[in-house]
Amino acid sequence: MTGLAVDDAAWASAWRHRSPGDKLLLCVGLVVCALVLPAWPGSVLVGAVAVVLALGPARVPAATFGRAVRWPLTFVAVSALTTVVTVDGGLGWAPDAAARAGSLVGHALAGSAAVLLLATTTPMADLLPALRRLRVPAAVVEVASVTYRLLFVLLQSLNTIREAQTARMGYSSVRRSYRSSGVLAAAVLTRSWDRARRMQEGLAGRGLETGLRVLPEVLPSSRLFLACSVLALAGIVSASLAVA
């Protein structure tokens, strides 16, 4: 519906009604493990746990998950390669290049998978109220919420206007593409102003002057889920330390 597959997955996930706090604990725990534990076997374990949880109990479509890691994969590949190449006196490999590259790729992929587990199971609408508990000011959370909502409205405008321009050959050469892109950006910007103005009126009737407070959904925390999370994290840590 929206073109943001990760967001669609989050709203449809089997973990949608789990407490965002629970999921944050698990996923942030995994992210930290991915970062600080040695790549073997820490990263491998973290990555495996994240992928299994996402595709298993959280029922995230494998294709969505797979496509989402494609982007970090590109960055990681290019950067890891750059890191282990030396240019001193001709191109060459740094000492222990393979091990270093492997470790970098391992950390990054495990971390990305852990963040994706959070992203594909927890919609922004649940995460943003959770930020309030991390003492982020209400005004900032409200601005972020409006950003999230308007994102979809503007993306829709962007795609429709671009389609209309394409139909009239607006992208048939590089020069025309640039012109059309400039017009497109301007159209979306003026729309965003217009939209904000009209929303202001749409919301004034419901009491905008006191801020944009809404009642977040009550998503109770699960002791079982927390216990399993802690157990899994402890397992990863002890296994890694044992091997190291």
Binding site: P72, R149, V174, A186
Partner: protein
């Protein structure tokens, strides 16, 4: 180009988060103050954030046939000022990390430092300099977009070089490598982004003059009502 999750060593991740924090907190203070005085501006700021996100979804064709996405932080800095962009940019980076898997949570600080702080400030500085040297709005925007884009990529390259110094030549050698990979290739794309900025603002000056005047980017036009 955002640094992917897990790519930076823990110390660097924490370091960049600490470095970015004061700017983001400063931006948040500005936003809180703004919203307290004018609650309805929450919507305008949200719209600005959404626009910043959506701008990076515009595809810029390059002459070589490949295409790239603008960072958009230069335009944002000119339109909304760097302090606000520090916050909005960070929010957008958080969304990109969680909606598109671009960037990450532990690398959010590093990415915010390059894209939401250095980029906008460098772009805005270049804009003010151009304007004070007598340049018009369009040259100012061109320079702002170009400088913001390049500054962002240079910062990213230096961040990576700092984290992964070369085995023999240390930081300097690594900087050369990463600048070569990430910043030099970016020059034509940065020029492209500057051009996009000029086209964008050229349309705005005809279609959205009152808004640009309100933002102080154009001198107010003589009121036509009084003339009659």
């Amino acid at each position: 180009m955002h640094i992917a999750e897990g790519f930076l060593p823990p110390l660097h991740a924490v370091g960049w988060t600490v470095a970015a924090a004061p700017f983001v907190v400063h931006g948040a203070r500005a936003v809180v103050k703004e919203v307290r005085e004018h609650p309805e501006n929450t919507l305008l700021l949200g719209a600005a954030g959404a626009f910043t996100f959506v701008l990076s979804a515009i595809k810029l064709p390059s002459v070589t046939g490949s295409s790239s996405h603008p960072t958009g932080t230069g335009a944002g800095a000119v339109l909304f000022r760097p302090p606000v962009m520090a916050l909005l940019g960070t929010v957008v980076l958080l969304f990109q990390a969680l909606l598109l898997a671009h960037g990450g949570l532990t690398t959010l600080g590093a990415n915010a430092f390059s894209m939401a702080i250095v980029g906008p400030w460098a772009g805005y500085g270049a804009y003010r300099l151009t304007r004070s040297l007598g340049g018009g709005l369009l040259p100012g925007v061109f320079v702002a977009m170009l400088v913001a884009d390049l500054a962002t990529y240079v910062t990213t390259a230096l961040q990576l070089a700092l984290a992964f110094p070369d085995a023999d030549s240390g930081f300097a050698g690594a900087a050369v490598k990463f600048l070569g990979v990430f910043a030099v290739t970016q020059i034509p794309l940065a020029v492209g982004e500057g051009l996009l900025g000029v086209l964008l603002f050229r349309v705005l000056t005809t279609n959205a003059r009152p808004e640009l005047e309100r933002l102080g980017l154009l001198p107010p036009a003589p009121a036509q009502e009084e003339v009659r």
